[in-house]
Amino acid sequence: MEVLTPRSLAEALALKAERPDAVPIGGGTDVMVELNFDRARPDALLNLNEVGELKGWSREDGRVRLGAALTYADAMRPPLCDLLPALAEASRTVGSPQIRNRGTIGGNLGTASPAGDALPPLLVEGAEVEVASVRGSRRLPLSEFLLGPKRNALAADELVAAAVVTPSGQPQTFMKVGTRNAMVIAVCSLALVADRERGELRAAYGSAGPVPALVSAPLADREAFAERVAAAARPIDDLRGTAAYRRHALRVLTERALERCLA
């Protein structure tokens, strides 16, 4: 095994082009478990901790650019938590303080788990994913980036550079069901925005289908929305819960989220 530690984004992209098999590692909250549990032995790891360009967040033309190395702890701090309140709520549900200090938005995107907690809040805010390679960078909608359970649209030489969001400024929330009151992987989760400006309801569920997915409807369809979200989900029975429970819970969560956001 080999560890490559680039000091700049350009160097990281060059290394990734040269070694497309190198597995990127940032906060380590996913990759290290694979290593420690002897489930993966990649030939190379690409340590992104020293790449300054990936850290933090910035505003650009009314948009917010979240660096791939932005941690959940970062996302919970003002003023970012006021710009993206559902993302901040989701971040609070992630693991423990230790995990939130290390785990990153970019890691959540790269892992593309159906249970990725940052994904539903980014979906309802219409986030785009900025991916980069030595060939240049491109942005694609998050819904197109997520292809399947733990599968994303990155080419072998690409890295996640950022998530780019135009904050709606509209009432929003995030909720996550787990069988313990902290430190759980979602049985199912929901982010919702009641967008009065666009006259639209947008919800995204997690852990209730192969990828977190967006469901939207006109504001006027509020009454039928919970049913619509539950019907759109494609949950399965697994260790953490049953498909029937997940559908039921999504209905309840959507009703409650609507109450919160339309009160």
Partner: protein, 762 residues
């Protein structure tokens, strides 16, 4: 504290009652000190079993079965042996002595031969320079398996082909049940089992498989002594019983195998059976190098036995006044692939099935079975947890059927000293059941909290799922009891040795040797406290816990160690003091060394046909506890927040009240885990949640404040009137939390852990 000002904790949560038996000669006991191992534990200096190292040390690794049931066709080690850094690869052929071991029955292979019977069963061992080299080599061992149909459904196991060719548990004085796969079956017939009442309630209850989930994984270091013997430094609950199992498998005499207690990161029953002891010793003796083994968390889930899953059919019959007339229960315990302590767990489940109630008639049938599920054995509460869950649900049902207050119903039936248990044993010692019920019921319930509140003080916690919607409050109550010390004629003992000498300053020093395993419960403090009391000196030094210098202390289990260690230390100290007095009160440069053995009152086996006692008692003594629980349940999502628990416990006499409270709080939390979240999930015998991501144990946001009342009613047969305190809270809290959930939801909730689906009614 940096500035030297440490405020005392001036408010105790717990209260105590004065001894109810002033006539007992209890003797003064000096106050407890702070934990003797406390400073090394808070500074990171305490050497746990996984922290040990030695010059030239190798790392051991275990290759385990990926099947729950399979025949081993062939083993090929050649590729593994060729891997870099590898010093040894061993299989069953390399076990020089007995090929099998076991706590009660030697039915478990040191390394599998012919067949594997559970997922994770050890098949081969590797020693290498680095753990990664050992893992890579193990991955190159080729094992040809022929998968066999697993016996996975415990209630049907007695109709399926036997998983063992030999009846290991027959001929040991139990009922030799002819059905296949029976570990032990025990029927207790008491009075007229067909006696009818005015009211009858029935239910079928189930409990999932709970894991001890101690934080310190199985680990240890084996060091060859250069003379054919070996020293093993390990985290265990009973050094001598480990030695007595290890030595025959190594083909060595007991004195050639010395077990030394390394720091124990929790045990809760899960370290009663061997894990890596023989394996590390085999590798060390083969390579002539020290060998360290440290299980991963995933490995730990298959590295020790678990709490038996159970299915319990219960029927309770009572008269119009709510007095129990007859209790009938049929209990099936899934023992998994090997016997471990299933036979004793079966007895406990049966003996405590009725709860601490006076019952004139009973029919209790308990069966533990072999299956290809993970082996089950000892865990805190040991059989009493399972039946308490069923019995207390039944008592709540009975109260509802009779329209009687559930606490009042329990008081009407409360067992008392002088009463007879279903086994025919008379309660001869202390058992203040009614007092415990009353003291618990007196605790004021917390007022409902106002809304809005932060999400973490609502069901669902950090998940932010409710702001009060769907939330209902429920209050529950449960009562339970269990035995203290080993039972049914398995009368063990505890040895202690005291050496008195003078230090350089001419002061008298007592060096105390006792092999009692400090597993976190604080027995080390008990030993020192008793020695300081009996010798009247503060100069007490505890010698290392080892098989090399002192006889057995018995096991840190069965709520026995405080009782037994206190008894042994007291005897040894008194003998040393008498000797000192005989010498005129001075050592004059000499020294005194005495070793004494303490035994608790004798017990007798149960009659294999009737389940009745065959002598004065089958169990030494008993302890009970009651709990009142307030929960909030989000009835729409099925999520729970336990708000508050009030506990009253029969503690005999609390030598160290802070440590007793700690046992109650910790024991309660483990019962909470079983009630709400903890279950090893298996499919066809394969575990699919062997990690702390998937097997959840309670966090700081899940455990409520516990208000403890220590009811002190000294045990006449125990030194200073003490009782073991570790298990009763775990026995009761699962049942009490389930009771509160039923109150909040109106649902039967007959299975734990209670899943959100069950609460919602899907």
């Amino acid at each position: 504290m940096g500035d030297g000002t440490v405020p005392r904790m001036h408010q105790r949560r717990a209260t105590t009652t004065a001894p109810a038996r002033p006539e007992l000669e209890l003797g003064r006991v000096v106050p407890a000190e702070r934990r003797l191992d406390g400073v090394p534990k808070v500074t990171g200096q305490f050497a746990y079993a996984s922290d040990l190292s030695a010059a030239g040390m190798l790392w051991g690794h275990t290759l385990r079965s990926p099947h729950a049931h399979a025949r081993i066709r062939a083993l090929d080690l050649s590729q593994a042996l060729a891997q870099p850094g590898v010093h040894a690869v061993l299989t069953h052929e390399d076990v020089p002595g007995q090929k099998r071991y076991g706590l009660e029955f030697a039915d478990q292979p040191v390394l599998a031969f012919d067949r594997v019977r559970y997922y994770g069963e050890p098949v081969a061992l590797v020693a290498a320079e680095h753990p990664e080299q050992a893992r890579r080599a193990a991955a190159r061992i080729r094992v040809e398996y022929e998968p066999l149909e697993p016996v996975a459904d415990a209630p049907r196991a007695t109709e399926l082909p036997p998983i063992h060719d030999h009846r290991w548990t027959h001929g040991h004085g139990y009922l030799d049940d002819p059905r296949p796969n029976v570990v032990r079956s025990l029927v207790i017939r008491h009075g007229d089992p067909d006696a009818g009442g005015d009211v009858s309630v029935a239910g079928v209850y189930e409990l999932g498989m709970q894991d001890q989930a101690f934080l310190g994984p199985e680990s240890g270091l084996a060091v060859p002594d250069g003379d054919g013997g070996v020293d093993i430094y390990v985290a265990t609950q009973w050094l001598h019983v480990d030695r007595d199992q290890v030595a025959p498998c190594l083909g060595l005499r007991p004195e050639q195998v010395r077990l030394h207690l390394a720091g124990v990161g929790g045990s809760f029953g899960g370290r009663e059976d061997l894990s890596m002891q023989i394996h590390a010793a085999l590798l060390a003796l083969r390579t002539n190098r020290p060998v360290k083994m440290v299980y991963s968390r995933e490995e730990s889930f298959v590295g020790h036995v678990h709490r038996h899953p159970a299915r319990i059919e219960a029927e309770h019959r009572a008269d119009r006044d709510g007095r129990l007339v007859c209790v009938r229960m049929r209990i099936v315990l899934d023992g998994g692939a090997y016997a471990s302590s299933s036979a004793a767990v079966t007895s406990n489940a049966a003996c405590f099935a009725c709860g601490p109630y006076a019952v004139a008639n009973a029919l209790i049938e308990a069966t533990s079975v072999y299956t290809n599920n993970p082996p089950c054995g000892a865990m805190r509460g040991f059989g009493a947890v399972q039946t308490c869950f069923a019995a207390e649900a039944q008592m709540d049902k009975l109260a509802a059927a009779l329209a009687v207050d559930p606490i009042e119903l329990r008081l009407r039936n409360a067992l008392a000293p002088g009463d007879t248990l279903p086994t025919g044993q008379r309660v001869s010692g202390s058992l203040p059941v009614a007092e415990v019920i009353r003291r618990c019921a007196e605790l004021p319930l917390p007022e409902p909290e106002e809304l809005p509140r932060d999400a973490i003080r609502l069901p669902g916690g950090a998940g932010n799922t409710t702001r009060g919607e769907g939330v209902r409050r429920g209050v529950g109550f449960a009562l339970g009891f269990k035995n203290l010390c080993f039972s049914e004629g398995f009368d063990d003992y505890c040895a202690a040795r005291v050496r008195l000498f003078e230090n350089a300053g001419g002061e008298l020093v007592a060096e105390v040797h006792c092999a009692a395993a400090e597993v976190g419960q604080g027995v080390t403090n008990v030993i020192a406290q008793v020695a300081r009391t009996e010798l009247g000196t503060e100069n007490v030094v505890l010698a290392p816990h080892t098989t090399a210098t002192v006889d057995s202390a018995g096991s840190s289990s069965a709520s026995r160690m405080t009782w037994m260690a206190a008894g042994a230390i007291r005897l040894a100290c008194r003998a040393a003091r008498e000797e000192l007095e005989r010498r005129g009160g001075a050592l004059a440069g000499g020294e005194i060394g005495v070793e004494r053995v303490y035994r608790h009152p004798r017990t007798w086996p149960l009659d294999p046909d009737t389940g009745q006692i065959t002598g004065e008692r089958a169990h030494v003594a008993f302890a009970c506890a009651a709990m009142r629980v307030v929960v909030e349940v989000d009835a729409e999502l099925g999520l729970t927040r336990v708000v508050w628990i009030g506990a009253a416990q029969d503690v005999g006499r609390a030598l160290n009240p802070q440590a007793v409270e700690g046992q109650i709080e910790g024991g309660t939390a483990q019962g909470l885990g079983l009630a709400l979240m903890e279950e090893i999930s298996t499919r066809g015998g394969l575990i699919d949640n062997a990690s702390f991501t998937d097997y959840l144990i309670p966090t700081a946001l899940d455990v409520p404040p516990v208000e403890s009342v220590l009811v002190e009613d000294p045990e006449p047969d125990a030194p200073y009137g003490v009782k073991g305190v570790g298990e009763p809270p775990t026995v009761v809290s699962t049942a009490a939390i389930a009771s509160a959930l039923r109150d909040a939801t109106g649902r039967e909730l007959a299975r734990v852990p209670v899943r959100p689906d069950d609460v919602v009614g899907l």
